[in-house]
Subunit: 527 residues, 2 copies
């Protein structure tokens, strides 16, 4: 979930100096318009210590007119507050219509810290999250615009930042023993954060994860998001009062946007695998997969594979390398194209639920429910609210699969636009491949940047610990196919536990299983 | 919550014979229109055994065209189903667009029974309820119309029904040892049901509680509700496609409605209290209240009182009899009239949150947040979705008060229309009372029936174990005032525990506290 915020995104000073003046003007104008509006704006800041929550709020105070801004930070409750229900202090701090309220260490703080430090168990943690959802729903239903920013830093980046602050005599006081204590709990903290964000990122009160690595980047990212969201809502309100019916407001002008850095641009697209190594690896992993699937079938562990990727990225070839290793009775490949009549007549998730495998089997989805947040989003087949809502619906769907013990793998096969063009031209040349290339493929290509953004959001919102995305560098087909097989074997081995490894090495293919193949797994690229 | 479904409502045979033919015609026509519509209808039946869930579904099959009807009952999961996530079987049973699906012992059954029989604790029960909410939200967001009927019988009525069935040689097989086992668990069952309904009655998938006492009544009640809801949605869809903007569809024709029986019509309005008894009682309870409040203040237990009722029902008088017994520093009376500018600029609940008392104090609301579901509903100040949503928002608000240990009492002072007229006329006569009577009072009177329905729904949806409504027969002012004081004393005593009773009898007023005053509390009229 946080991989998209560990890209070390920076905004160079020159760009910053160019972006900021028009942004400030926009912000002030937007704020002025907001004052006449019929709704309040509630902005919540949460995230990793040192990721710049406080600094960002200070920056906003500088850029906006602070007379119409209310900032609230919640520390230990006062006597007055302790005497009343917990949320009393949040209720009384809410901004009225036409104003903006910035909330630091808000209703999210205590539940997350209490859980991280083991003061409350998972069940109570979930109850507290429920309370948050209900609270925000009440406010949003009442018209409030709610924006939530999760400021993120990787564990290393957090350490570096703390060290740097400690060395600075003027900033030294900022870092306490408590901060280092929290740092020690980084992994638990991130796990709790992921759960919180998944459960509370609703259509009405979505989270935006912001990388806190660079001060200029994060300030501009947050301010831009606030400007755009408020403008969008103002436009919506205006249209509604105009009574034009179909609420499909134009998005705010995207001017002065940040240069896009996505999770895809961080991949090393030069990875290759030599032919010889490829042949050996493919055979080895296929043999291993075959064994693992036998064990999985016996133990009634189902596997569900999702393949997404650019046109011509090699999904089909990747799938064939898997099915070649499986017993035909054990697997099914589901091609997701236009839905059937029957499928159209149901909820969009229905067609995916139908194909969930029986215990011990494998289902491979060639494209999947992620169409909702990719093609349907980019092509406008789904309305904004629909695809935004879909992240939560998908997470819930996948959580149910995980609870049932189903092993779920999601692959995004990534190629560069240049490589895609090369493959398209190759297809045109080769008769038996020409059918694969359609006008639609060329059209999709034109929207590369939109798709790339959609992929980035998809990974950000749906790559969870239970169901992580694996991003595969697929410019080299051989490298990609081996990566897919390897990842699948490793996930299956983990899911089947130590027993599977023993069975594997004792099994028929023991002679083939070289030391290398059961060596410790390479760090996964799971996000 | 279930009090509104324990009124032994019956539909006489003659009325039934008159109502049914046009109702059947409506149902068939509605169903025909539905076939062309872009949404499915999902009808869930749940409730007390013997309250006629199965019979009602059978009746609907007779009245509707069963070719377009899908009925699903879920027993023990099959092998196929056990192999997959729990909800797989519900997903595959969903009706397509244009059809209606009737669900018996659906996704609600297992969680409730598991909890009643102690197989899962409260935390897991809540998690399962969360799953239900997410499931229904996904469907509703996708366009499905979801109707849920909770068929209710009182514990006695259920026993009688079981006995009757056992005696009937043709029906005898219906009652098993299991049914009696469940009956023994009636109270736990109803508690679990209340929790479930409170948490899952959302604007998009509301529950309707139906009294199952009389077969004719319940069939007509359910069928009418289905007809009206489908028609309403069809009208809404038509308006939306017409692109007329403001979605405020006309309600379906209320024709062939059931004669209204409300929770108010079940009250015995002839109750009175003689003058002598009144004087003695008032003094006694005031003394007791004074003592109790001293203890409450010491123990930091806050009290929050809500007074609602008809115009001229005696709210002010009731409140004065309470405040007379309290130290002025300990209480505040909040008159809820038109909101201030500042209050208008916030969420409608904000003005009530503000006044929550500090620990150990008393706040009395003369009218309250219930205005949202009473006057704002009846006068159309709130949109349908807004007041429907308010039940859940209010329950959540009150749950937070209860969790904080605040004692919450809600009184509805009920008078008959005749008594109100008498009081209005009296006010006109007496100079110092004339100011109390406004044109609005006369206008409200004309909408008596609408208000009565709104009160009934309010009690049904917001009378919970934590925050029950107390309905006070207030035609006789003396009787009403003593009832209010008595109820308050009893609730405080329970809240303060045994210690308070001892302190009371040992205290200064011990001589005054006659045996009668600490006698076992009369059964409350809590709903």
């Amino acid at each position: 979930m946080f991989r998209t915020a560990e890209l070390q995104r920076k905004l160079p000073k020159e760009d910053y100096l160019q972006l900021v003046p028009p942004l400030r003007e926009d912000l002030l104008l937007t704020q002025m318009e907001l004052r006449k509006a019929d709704f309040p704006v509630i902005v919540v800041f949460a995230g990793v210590d040192g990721a710049g929550k406080g600094e960002t709020v200070n920056q906003l105070h500088e850029w906006l007119d602070s007379r119409w801004l209310i900032t609230q930070a919640f520390g230990e409750p006062s006597d007055e507050e302790r005497d009343r229900p917990e949320y009393w202090r949040f209720w009384r701090a809410l901004p009225p219509k036409g104003r903006m309220g910035l909330f630091l260490s808000s209703w999210y703080s205590t539940p997350i810290l209490d859980h991280v430090y083991g003061r409350i168990g998972l069940a109570e943690f979930d109850e507290r999250i429920e309370r948050i959802k209900t609270f925000e729903k009440t406010l949003a239903d009442g018209g409030a615009l709610i924006l939530k920013f999760w400021m993120h830093l990787s564990k290393d980046a957090q350490k570096n930042r703390f060290r740097k602050l400690e060395k600075n005599p003027l900033q030294h006081w900022r870092i306490s023993r408590r901060d280092w204590q929290n740092w020690e709990m980084y992994d638990q903290f991130v796990a709790a954060a992921e759960r919180t964000i998944m459960k509370t990122s609703t259509g009405l009160a979505p989270w935006k994860i912001v990388e806190g690595y660079d001060e200029r980047y994060r300030s501009v990212a947050v301010a831009t998001a606030i400007r755009d969201a408020v403008r969008f809502r103002l436009a919506e309100a205006e249209q509604n009062s105009g009574g034009e019916g179909g609420v499909q407001p134009k998005p705010a002008t995207p001017g002065h946007a940040l240069p896009p850095v996505t999770v895809l641009s961080s991949l090393d697209m030069d990875k290759t695998l030599a032919k010889d190594a490829y042949s050996a690896d493919i055979k080895r992993y296929q043999a291993r997969l075959n064994q693992l699937q036998r064990i999985a079938r016996e133990r009634k562990v189902s596997t569900l594979l999702v393949f997404e990727g650019w046109d011509a990225a090699g999904k089909g070839g990747g799938i064939r390398r898997i099915t070649a290793a499986l017993d035909a009775r054990d697997y099914r490949v589901i091609q997701i194209a236009a839905p059937t009549d029957e499928e159209v007549a149901h909820n969009y998730l229905w067609r995916f639920w139908r194909h969930i495998p029986r215990a011990g089997r494998v289902t491979i989805y060639d494209r999947s429910w992620y169409g909702r947040v990719l093609v349907e989003r980019v092509e406008g087949f789904a309305r904004t609210r629909e695809w935004q809502r879909a992240y939560g619906e998908i997470n819930d769907f996948e959580a149910q699969l995980a609870e049932r013990g189903i092993v779920l793998l999601k692959f995004w096969l990534h190629i560069t636009p240049e490589e895609q063009l090369r493959r398209f031209k190759e297809r045109e040349q080769i008769a038996y491949k020409a059918w694969k290339l359609t006008d639609e493929d060329w059209r999709n290509r034109e929207r590369w940047a939109d798709y790339e953004l959609a992929v980035n959001d998809m990974v950000e919102r749906t790559s969870t610990r239970q169901a992580p995305w694996t991003l595969i560098e697929a410019n080299d087909k051989r490298y990609a196919r081996v990566e897919v097989l390897k990842t699948l074997c490793e996930r299956l081995e983990t899911a089947l536990g130590a027993g599977a490894k023993r069975a594997l090495s004792a099994g028929k293919t023991a002679k083939k299983a070289t030391k290398q193949s059961v060596a410790k797994p390479t760090p996964t690229k799971e996000s």
